[in-house]
């Protein structure tokens, strides 16, 4: 009946191993909760961790045998493996800090972990997607799961606001992306990235560059929204502030990294022939993202909101690497996203712990004297903040260094200058927290947070080590990034 049908080979299945493991894991988690009943909810987080570690192993195994899978729908190269590992590590750290938070809020449930796993599955697809259809489906899986996670505590008004804002605006932005995909199919007759590249660069094909630019612009709307780049960053502060703290930690790292992964892949493969058309727009966007993020963060009092704006600003730095449009730029973006993931998660882990039950409002002044009460945690917080500033010996320093180096190599002098000025501005608001923690007298309310739970402790240690390793021995990661930055066209 089925003529010339060749079923997918075993190696193709191995290349999607992390996705398979994550899907199965999420499903098992949900079933397990139903079977084990309410009393065994403490076991859910370790179970989710086990699945994530399995998936991490799966990603490594998949990365050892690179190649396309399922009719070129996915391509598992070094680049894909890098981002898969990155989002999975972010997932592990987020689950570590979620356990105690959910218990505190009395919201332990398998759905939470299942949604994290599903979201990671979508991001893992995004990391390896080689086809605009897969890009869209992956993006939707990742986004829908995060929409729900953002509103996970349904009795909390801030959660609800975050979820509905994220959902409405996110769907709208994804519609733009989908529209762009539709147009690009109309123009080129294909949705495969390499073939789009081939079509657009071939001298035989007839098409209107204007129309293709319109497609690129519409897809930019979708991607820029997901990475919170200007002018589509408006949702980010409200959502990151309103969502449960561990979810914010997750959202600012994993979906963003995956969205950047696919952003870079689409623009440097499919639209690489139209650089002179999209580069100026992205230039403006990168500049605006940095400026808006940093200057808005300056004026924040709430630490969570400040970190949210800082997340926007950091997206701006990565955008600089995207604008550079070179292999060095891709490698720099990869490195930056990795180091940002660690330092940001670390900072958010501390915030998660510090806000306490019901997520009270924590202004910067509330941190006064924290160093005396919890010297170790304060030191770690300082370490993450220094990395966010970009002080040498931290991962953040080398991230910024490589990004701006790639920008200079691509002759983006003004953007580099603006970026450096921005980093200087950013230093002010990060340093302010450190100053308050170390040099201000403690007030009555501070120090209510109590001892740090084991999960958060583990996550903190992990992130701190990550920032340290990237800051002291960047070459190992950078070499891997450099090797995998050459995206196959």
């Amino acid at each position: 009946m089925l003529v010339n049908f060749t079923p997918p080979s075993a190696s193709e299945y191995i290349r999607v191993l992390p996705e398979i493991l994550l899907t199965v894991g999420g499903t098992i988690l949900m079933i397990a909760e139903g079977l084990a009943g309410e009393r065994h909810r403490r076991g859910l987080a370790p179970m989710a961790l086990a699945f994530l570690l399995l998936a991490l192993g799966g990603a490594v195994v998949a990365g050892m045998d690179p190649g396309p899978a399922f009719n070129n729908m996915l391509t598992v190269d070094g680049y894909a493996t890098f981002f898969r590992l990155l989002v999975l590590i972010v997932g592990i750290l987020s689950v570590l800090i979620s356990g105690s938070y959910l218990t505190r809020e009395n919201a332990d449930s398998a759905d939470y972990y299942a949604l994290i796993l599903f979201s990671l599955c979508g991001q893992s697809i995004l990391a390896s997607a080689n086809e605009l259809i897969m890009v869209f489906i992956g993006l939707e899986i990742s986004s829908i799961a995060t929409y729900v996670l953002a509103g996970f505590l349904r009795n909390d008004k801030r959660n609800n606001e975050a979820a509905i804002k994220y959902f409405l605006l996110g769907s709208f932005a994804t519609a733009f992306l989908l529209y762009g995909v539709g147009w690009i199919y109309g123009v080129t007759g294909t949705t495969n990235l390499q073939e789009i590249h081939r079509f657009l660069t071939s001298s035989e094909s007839v098409y209107s560059p204007l129309l293709v630019s319109a497609c690129a612009a519409m897809m930019f709307v979708g991607f820029a929204f997901k990475v919170s780049a200007a002018p589509f960053q408006g949702w980010a502060p409200d959502v990151y502030q309103g969502a449960p703290a561990p979810v914010s930690a997750f959202m600012t790292a994993a979906p963003k990294a995956a969205a950047f992964a696919v952003f870079l892949r689409v623009y440097s493969i499919a639209f690489s022939g139209l650089t002179e058309r999209w580069q100026p727009i992205l230039w403006v966007s990168a500049m605006a993202t940095m400026v808006i993020g940093n200057f808005a963060a300056l004026r924040q009092d709430n630490i969570k909101r400040m970190l949210a704006y800082s997340s926007v600003a950091h997206a701006g730095y990565v955008m600089v690497a995207v604008v550079a449009h070179s292999e060095a730029g891709v490698a720099a973006a990869m490195f930056y996203l990795a180091s940002y993931a660690f330092m940001n998660l670390g900072a958010f882990a501390i915030v998660t712990h510090y806000v306490g039950k019901g997520e009270r409002y924590v202004g910067i002044d509330d941190m006064a004297g924290y160093a005396r009460q919890q010297p170790l945690i304060a030191a770690l917080f300082t370490w993450f903040l220094l990395s966010l500033i970009g002080v040498p010996l931290t991962g953040g320093f080398f991230g910024k260094f490589y990004v701006f180096k790639s920008a200079i190599d691509s002759n983006l002098i003004w953007l580099t200058v603006l970026g450096l000025l921005n980093s200087a501005v950013a230093a002010y608001y990060y340093l302010r927290i450190i100053v308050v923690m170390y040099f201000h007298e403690p007030t009555n309310e501070t120090g209510a947070a109590g001892p740090v739970p084991a999960g958060v402790r583990l996550a903190l240690i992990g992130s701190a080590i990550g920032v340290f390793v990237l800051g002291v021995m960047p070459s190992a990661v950078l070499e891997f990034a450099n090797r995998s930055a050459m995206l196959s066209r």
Binding site: F70, L115, I133, I137, G138, V148, N155
Partner: protein, 169 residues
């Protein structure tokens, strides 16, 4: 000739329905206009000899999703909703923005030479194995992975909506 007439009829249904959907004040009327719009799209599919898509469009969107929409609209108190002050009052701004974007698109499509193409060139009738067989072939061979992964997407959506809807303990 007949094809062209039908094309314009369906296009008119689609666009008219869509405009009515966003301008009607009553949610019921909006939903019914949306049905008209979806019917127009189904007609366009039929015109392009995509019978399967035509049927699926009607069965799923009109016969399934829109019925649920109506269901919800019937259950909520509409009179109250209609009386409430609506906060999407910037219709003038919206109109200007959409006219601008529309003009931009027309200009762009025109300069790309798309508008000078003949309207609604019907696709050639499928030869050999039918339309549905060809579709199934594509879905289950070339696009096997997106097809399967789409089920994960639906699963996530279901989990999400159940989670949002279920009662808090």
């Amino acid at each position: 000739m007949l094809d062209t007439i039908f094309f314009y009829v369906f296009a008119l249904l689609t666009i008219g329905g869509a405009i009515a959907t966003i301008t009607r004040r009553s949610a019921m009327h909006s939903a019914l206009s949306l049905i008209v719009s979806l019917l127009g799209v189904a007609g366009l599919y039929l015109l392009q000899k995509a019978e399967f898509l035509f049927a699926v469009q009607i069965v799923l969107y009109i016969g399934g999703i829109m019925v649920l929409f109506l269901f919800v609209i019937m259950l909520v108190n509409l009179d109250q909703a209609a009386k409430e002050r609506q906060f999407n009052r910037q219709w003038l701004l919206g109109l200007v923005a959409s006219v601008l974007v529309g003009a931009q698109m027309v200009w762009m499509l025109n300069s790309a030479g798309v508008l000078s193409l003949p309207a609604a060139v019907p696709a050639p009738a499928a030869t050999g194995p039918g339309n549905i067989e060809a579709l199934a072939d594509l879905l289950f061979r070339e696009y096997l992975l997106p097809f399967e992964v789409a089920s994960l997407l639906l699963l996530v959506a279901i989990v999400g909506s159940v989670m949002m809807a279920k009662k808090t303990s």
